[in-house]
């Protein structure tokens, strides 16, 4: 379970302070499927980075499973990211010199999993992602949809509780975009909490809960049968 309390994130640009997140309150239950929409610069990515422990708040508190995260050391945050959080980015962020297989395998290496177990796990996952015949290819030899599937594979190989996707279909044609969304939703059906930032109304409408952001605030929190205007 995730809880943000009066959370702020300010950036100093020149002598101007930008409130990328402005006193945000938000509670997310385990297993929820949320989409985050809103104009460019409204703070969607900043929110995702915050939830993913990639960034620290300027003020306010972020509780992860009732644990206060501000007191965690960088080392502990890294371990939490590794074991509990998966990221999917618009621009994939694959390591160009590693093969698809090695990219998917990477978190297991970081976690110190034995090669034998790694191999079995990666094989199984590549099959599920329909990437078995692409395993030995470098990212540059893959299509956009395939790259994003590799990135998703890397994000879920550690079986995280929370999957954060920042415009995962932004660089994809509509067919591969839909495939990627279907894959993410399948994972959510398996119990993972899923947050998807998107510009696409149709994609956003697939979520059970839809956040809309403007100027660092959530101005709409929609759930089936209940709309909150803040």
């Amino acid at each position: 379970m995730i809880e943000l309390q009066q959370l702020c994130r300010d950036f100093l640009i020149g002598d101007q302070t930008v409130h990328a997140l402005d006193h945000l309150d938000l509670t997310i239950d385990s297993g929820e499927y949320l989409s985050v929409m809103g104009p460019s610069g409204s703070g969607k990515s900043t929110l995702l980075n915050m939830l993913g422990l990639l960034d620290r708040p300027s003020s306010g508190e972020y509780l992860l499973n009732t644990q206060v995260t501000s007191s965690l050391k960088e080392e502990q945050r890294a371990a939490l990211r590794r074991d509990h959080i998966g990221f999917v980015f618009q621009s994939y962020h694959l390591l160009p010199r590693l093969t698809a297989r090695e990219n998917v395998e990477l978190p297991l290496v970081l976690a110190g999993v034995a090669p034998k177990i790694r191999q079995a796990t990666v094989d199984e996952l590549l099959r599920r992602l329909d990437l078995s015949d692409r395993a030995a290819h470098n990212p540059s030899q893959l299509s956009g949809g395939q790259r994003q599937r590799v990135a998703i594979g890397r994000a879920i190989i550690m079986e995280p509780d929370l999957l954060l996707a920042d415009e995962p279909t932004g660089n994809l044609d509509s067919k591969s975009g839909l495939e990627v969304m279907a894959l993410l939703e399948e994972l959510n059906a398996g119990g993972i909490t899923l947050l998807v930032v998107t510009h696409d109304e149709e994609m956003g409408a697939r979520a059970q809960r839809r956040l809309h952001m403007v100027d660092g605030r959530i101005n709409q929190d929609w759930r089936p049968g209940r709309t909150e205007r803040i």
């Binding site: 980075n49 993913g52 990639l54 960034d55 960088e74 080392e75 890294a78 371990a79 939490l80 990211r81 590794r82 074991d83 990221f87 980015f89 621009s91 994939y92 962020h93 694959l94 390591l95 160009p96 010199r97 590693l98 090695e102 990477l106 978190p107 290496v109 970081l110 976690a111 110190g112 999993v113 034995a114 090669p115 990212p139 540059s140 890397r154 660089n171």
Partner: protein, 426 residues
């Protein structure tokens, strides 16, 4: 080991094993990344290789020179003078090492010196390196062509058999005396006396084995083969003598004896003073000079080349850090702790340094091997301390100079790194 346990955090046996695995795998992963980054890796390799090459080559040459000079006076008695071809104009300086000879010293010169009243013995010397073989075993050995008197002057004792036969210097005899180490390596436990050795195109019968003598300052006498000087002349296809050792009956009239010998040679060489005659004490002084200069030069050049390598490593690594900003950000986002990022960069530097050092070492060995071919008289050989030392210095340099880049990489905030706009999409 301490490092490994720290990465894993708390330590049970399982955690320890995991930590070990993680480091091992990260290195393996990293190795793949390095080998797929050609230009950068090659630059680093070259920088390190040059540094190591410099150290090994310079000390190898220095050591060759040192052994060469030491070999001159090592164990020589005070009443022994050394004659070498070529005239050194200034006195008290460094005697010529290779001898830019105007005229060869010949066996006839040596025989003429021996006829002088104040001279009790003369030992000519032609050194060289040549392939020695017996049966299927073969190795390169330092070969000395000389005579019977040489053994006494150099205080070489015989463990088995006899020294060179008492024959005129210009008479070639197919016999040899070998050092104990050479004997072991060619014959093992089988008897060597009376056996035939092949040296180049000639064959020699082993008539004596030198008594074991620890590695002295000069040449390792356990590892030599001694043959009659006339045989060495034909073996190495040379007329000229490298040195003539002259033993005086007494030391009373040293200066007068020197003059007599010099005059004799001048007469024999059409009135030209084209040989150098030195006594042990002047050699010692000259040797000290050489050694000091050499040590300083070696240390200086090696230090500079390593410094250059280090700075190159630092720059290249800094470039690498900024090129790999997104990569590092991603790894951190995936949960790689800062200190592991540091270890990755340091281990990469260490790996490159090791590979570069090996390359440098191989090139220097090859160069010295060729040098020995060209100047067989000088035993160019890198001392072990320099080989080990250059390795350590290379790795330490690489680690020290990649510390700053590694630190920068480790301290990068994951989100900033991921947002790096410069990098293109992958």
């Amino acid at each position: 080991m301490a490092v490994l346990t720290r990465i894993g955090g708390p330590v049970g046996p399982k955690e320890y094993e995991q930590a070990l695995m993680r480091v091992y795998d990260l290195l393996a992963f990293n190795f793949r990344v390095i080998t797929r980054q050609r230009v950068r890796s090659i630059m680093l390799l070259i920088a390190i290789a040059i540094g190591v090459l410099a150290i090994n080559l310079l000390t190898g040459i220095g050591e060759g020179g040192k052994q060469f000079v030491l070999g001159e006076f090592n164990l020589l008695g005070k009443n022994v003078l050394i004659m070498l071809p070529g005239k050194k104009e200034t006195t008290g300086g460094i005697p010529p090492l290779t001898g830019e000879t105007t005229r060869d010293l010949t066996l006839q010169d040596a025989q003429a010196i021996l006829r002088l009243a104040e001279v009790s013995a003369v030992a000519p010397l032609i050194p060289g390196k040549i392939e020695i073989s017996h049966g299927r075993l073969s190795r390169e050995a330092f070969t000395l062509g000389s005579n019977r008197a040489f053994f006494e002057m150099r205080q070489l004792d015989i463990a088995q058999g006899s020294i060179l036969p008492d024959v005129p210097m210009d008479q070639a005899v197919a016999v040899c005396i070998i050092g104990s180490k050479l004997r072991r390596e060619l014959f093992g436990n089988r008897p060597a006396l009376g056996q035939w050795l092949r040296a180049g195109d000639s064959r020699f019968r082993v008539v004596g084995i030198l008594k074991d003598r620890g590695q002295g300052l000069g040449l390792d006498m356990n590892d030599v083969i001694i043959i009659p000087v006339a045989s060495a002349q034909s073996l190495f296809n040379t007329e000229g003598l490298f040195r003539i050792f002259i033993e005086l009956r007494n030391l009373h009239d040293l200066d007068k004896s020197r003059d007599r010998i010099t005059d004799l040679l001048k007469n024999r060489h059409d009135g030209e003073e084209d040989v150098t005659l030195i006594a042990q004490d002047s050699l010692l002084t000259a040797f000290a000079d050489i050694l000091d200069t050499m040590t300083l030069t070696v240390a200086g050049i090696a230090a500079i080349s390593m410094l250059v390598a280090g700075i190159l490593i630092m720059n290249v690594s800094l470039i690498a850090v900024s090129q790999r900003t997104r990569e590092i950000g991603l790894l951190k986002a995936l949960g790689l702790p800062a200190r592991t990022v540091r270890i990755i960069f340091l281990s990469e530097a260490a790996m490159m340094a090791t590979a570069g050092a090996i390359i440098g070492l191989l090139i220097s060995e090859l160069a010295l091997f060729l040098a020995r071919r060209v100047y067989p008289a000088v035993l160019f050989d890198t001392p072990n301390w320099a080989q080990v030392g250059s390795f350590i210095v290379a790795i330490v340099t690489a680690l020290v100079f990649s510390a700053i880049p590694a630190r920068r990489a480790a301290n990068m905030a994951p989100v900033d790194a991921l947002l790096d706009k410069k990098a293109d999409q992958a």
